[in-house]
């Protein structure tokens, strides 16, 4: 029972954070939402009994990729151009 609740909460959080990545106009907010997405994904991997993938996802997805995105966003400007 507790597993079903954990799965439901984490997958709902994954879908919400993925939608936030797409919806945010501020790119730094989108990068932070991507970090949250990676962290929830690593939790999901851990619950599905894949600790190897969970460590790799937490280190690379939540740590390094967010940092590299933020460095790139600082260089090119933080507002997304809206094309109509």
């Amino acid at each position: 029972m507790i597993e079903v609740i954990a799965h439901t909460c984490i997958i709902a959080g994954l879908i919400i954070s993925a939608a936030m990545i797409v919806r945010f106009r501020d790119l730094i907010s989108a990068a932070i939402a991507f970090g949250v997405f990676s962290f929830l994904l690593s939790l999901e991997f851990y619950i599905l009994q894949a600790p190897d993938v969970a460590i790799a996802e937490a280190g690379i997805g939540a740590g390094l990729t967010t940092a590299i995105f933020i460095i790139a966003i600082r260089a090119v400007g933080r507002d997304e151009e809206v094309e109509e």
Partner: protein, 95 residues
């Protein structure tokens, strides 16, 4: 009108994609293929590693790990090529 059609298509796609998800046995191992039984039975004595995952990644499937390391090396080479220091007076040439 356009938004309504898009939303309807997305809803139908989600419903169709949910059908195989509901029939999956989520979180439990798939049907055994025979290969994993061999690895579990012989992996510990052949490689000497208690962690069978590492035994497979670095011993039985060593070529995959070599390819992964090479891909990472090539990625670093490409990033270094893009962000290399230009000499004085030199400019990027575009074809």
């Amino acid at each position: 009108m356009k938004k309504a059609v898009t939303g309807a298509v997305i809803l139908i796609l989600c419903a169709v994609l949910m059908i195989p998800v509901l029939s999956l046995s989520f979180g439990s191992p798939a049907v055994s293929q025979g290969m994993d039984d061999y690895f579990i039975a012989h992996g510990q004595e052949q490689t000497g590693a208690n962690n069978i995952v590492t035994g497979i990644v670095f011993d039985y499937r060593g070529f995959d790990t070599l390819g992964e390391a090479t891909v990472l090396f090539t990625a670093v080479l490409a990033v270094g090529l893009v962000f290399r220091k230009l000499k004085r007076g030199e400019e990027y040439e575009y074809e």
